[in-house]
């Protein structure tokens, strides 16, 4: 790879305040909303419920970290939900009791997701198709593929071991949370401290400058889509385990929750700005609202209005803080 140490100099350091202010404000917002929820229903702060919230954000968190890679390059991935469903079908297909070792099922899901990501990346870079369109196509095609593979029916009768991926826990921490933690830790270190990760910021910050400094822009972009697809695949496996079925019509609209989490977390839709901790906090805010509104038994109609307002409000507050 024509990637040398000197290219690191081109990584745009877009003001440390800008990076930190977002997540900092967001953490305050999460605590403040949590305090309000706790006053209205003390059960919100019960340890069992806090674990419940973190478990519920795991799948969205995994998808959101994946899409953060693509958003950082200045692209977008709308195919996440469909790809997750497809990966779930593949994984479930190999997870019948006594059929295959567990690792084969997980591997199949992640590979299916990565494959979709690879196609996205190639269409975007080689095909010069805007990512919005390329991944919109994948969103439709992957859903269709999931329906074809499963014959329109859910894939059920899964092994107990497969159900443990999402259902089990380790020292009281639910497995999906551990998986999210691992994905987040690896991604954070990779994006902040490894040269290849910093190239992703460089490409999204200023593509021409990145190219001029010798970065293989196309390769970096394809890599981002593959990681995003792999994350969608992994999320799909966890989802299939959680609902103990591979469903062709699962995960509809998950891409929007994932993108919302990343953007709430300070990721810029025009690329080059964003962090893994920010994305995690974004996912946490969405999960906190979902959980809190259910606990308060707010009517379904008003839940939707409240969610919309809080999401836009969170981004708005961060924009003000940056000025």
């Amino acid at each position: 790879m024509p990637l040398s140490e000197k290219s690191n100099a081109t990584v745009p350091h877009t003001g440390s305040y800008r990076r930190i202010a977002g997540p900092y404000m967001l953490a305050i917002a999460i605590v403040a909303i949590g305090a309000i929820l706790a006053v209205l229903n003390p059960r919100f702060l019960a340890p069992a419920n806090l674990i419940n919230v973190i478990r519920q954000i795991s799948i969205n968190g995994i998808l959101a970290i994946g899409v953060t890679y693509v958003l950082l390059t200045g692209g977008v991935d709308l195919s996440l939900g469909s790809v997750a469903a497809l990966a779930g079908i593949f994984a479930a297909g190999l997870a019948h009791p006594g059929a295959m070792p567990l690792v084969a099922a997980v591997f199949a899901g992640v590979i299916a997701g990565s494959g979709c990501g690879l196609v996205n990346g190639i269409v975007v870079t080689r095909g010069r198709v805007p990512s919005f369109i390329a991944t919109l196509g994948m969103m439709t095609a992957a859903r269709g593929f999931a329906l074809v593979v499963s014959d329109g029916r859910p894939v059920t009768d899964l092994s107990a071991a497969f159900a443990q991926i999402a259902g089990g826990d380790w020292l009281g921490i639910p497995n999906p949370v551990l998986i999210l933690g691992a994905v987040a830790a690896v991604s954070h270190v990779f994006l902040r401290h490894i040269w290849a990760g910093r190239h992703i910021y460089a490409v999204g910050g200023n593509e021409n400058a990145a190219r001029a400094s010798g970065i293989d822009v196309d390769r970096v972009k394809v890599f981002a889509y593959v990681v995003c697809g792999a994350a969608a695949g992994l999320g799909g496996v966890v989802l299939a385990s959680r609902i103990t079925a591979g469903q062709p019509n699962a995960a509809i609209g998950y891409e929007l929750d994932a993108i919302a989490a990343a953007v709430i977390g300070g990721t810029s839709l025009s690329g080059g700005v964003g962090t893994v901790p920010g994305t995690l906090l974004g996912a946490l805010l969405i999960g906190e609202i979902n959980n809190g509104l259910d606990l308060l038994n707010v009517s379904s109609y008003y839940q939707q209005i409240t969610k919309g307002l809080i999401i836009v409000g969170a981004v708005c507050a961060q924009q003000r803080a940056r000025k």
């Binding site: 519920q56 919005f132 369109i133 329906l147 059920t156 259910d294």
Partner: protein, 321 residues
Amino acid sequence: MNPTKRRGNFAFILVAAVLGAALLTCCRPAPKQTAGAPPAHPIVIGVSLLNLSSEFIVMLDQAMEAKASELGVKLIVADAQRDAARQVQQAENFIAQGVDIIILNPCEVDGSSPAVEKALAAGIPVVNVNSETRATPTAFVGSHDEESGKIAMNYIAQRLHGQGNVVMIQGFLGQAAQIERAQGAREVLAQFPGLRLIADQTAEWDRAKAMSLMENWIQSYGSKINAVFAQNDEMGVGALHALEEAHMKDKVPVVGIDAIAEALQMVKAGRLDATVFQDARAQGSTAVETACRIVRGQPYEKQTFIPFQLVTADNIGEFTK
């Protein structure tokens, strides 16, 4: 953002929307046939289905195909993918193709009505199957969704001896099935003053969403919850998983609707307490039969209601083979 860029974005969104619509519009390969063929030709039925991603609709489709091949008639099947506007387009295409009759599995009560009106205006009869439209078709084959809500809630009332707290997981808000199933359930609740609906929320027919919702309810209500009514089996199974994980399932009966294959297995295994069987096979085959009678000018039923049936461990044998 400068004005040029904004214009660029708008054009981009427009292109995206057009392309998206193009991508999403798809029919199954249709057998070719000629319009206005002589009476001896096999009957051609245009079918527009609500959504072939749903297991129930797939069953409906298979029942229709089976009946069609038995009667020697041709089906041209199109999937409206929950979009009423697409359904109306499909009806227009059927009219242009000159099919003998249309079987419509409506997406929406109002939104799909133009499909019925346009076909009737073009002299093509319409049979609505499974759900209704505001416009009156030539014939209707289906079930009263209200009845299913009543059956499910009645079962809960009996299990709880008319005393206790119930939670209801609703379908996609505003859809006919959600409105009518909720209404049926509320009518039964009104008859039992001891039954209290302590919470109801939508999980949009989705298993994962219902599971999260149930987990949240377990956190806020805990052992106060005495029974769960889910407006479809997918959500019922999601709630069941949440209750099992919280070790509460023994005390809390769960009831769903639709009798999908997985739910029947769970009733058989004693995990799910009950579901309500909506007879996709009878609906699909009766719709095709009725359509053929109309085209041949034979007498037919204007409205055929296929009854719902409660499925519990007691009668599960009739439903699983």
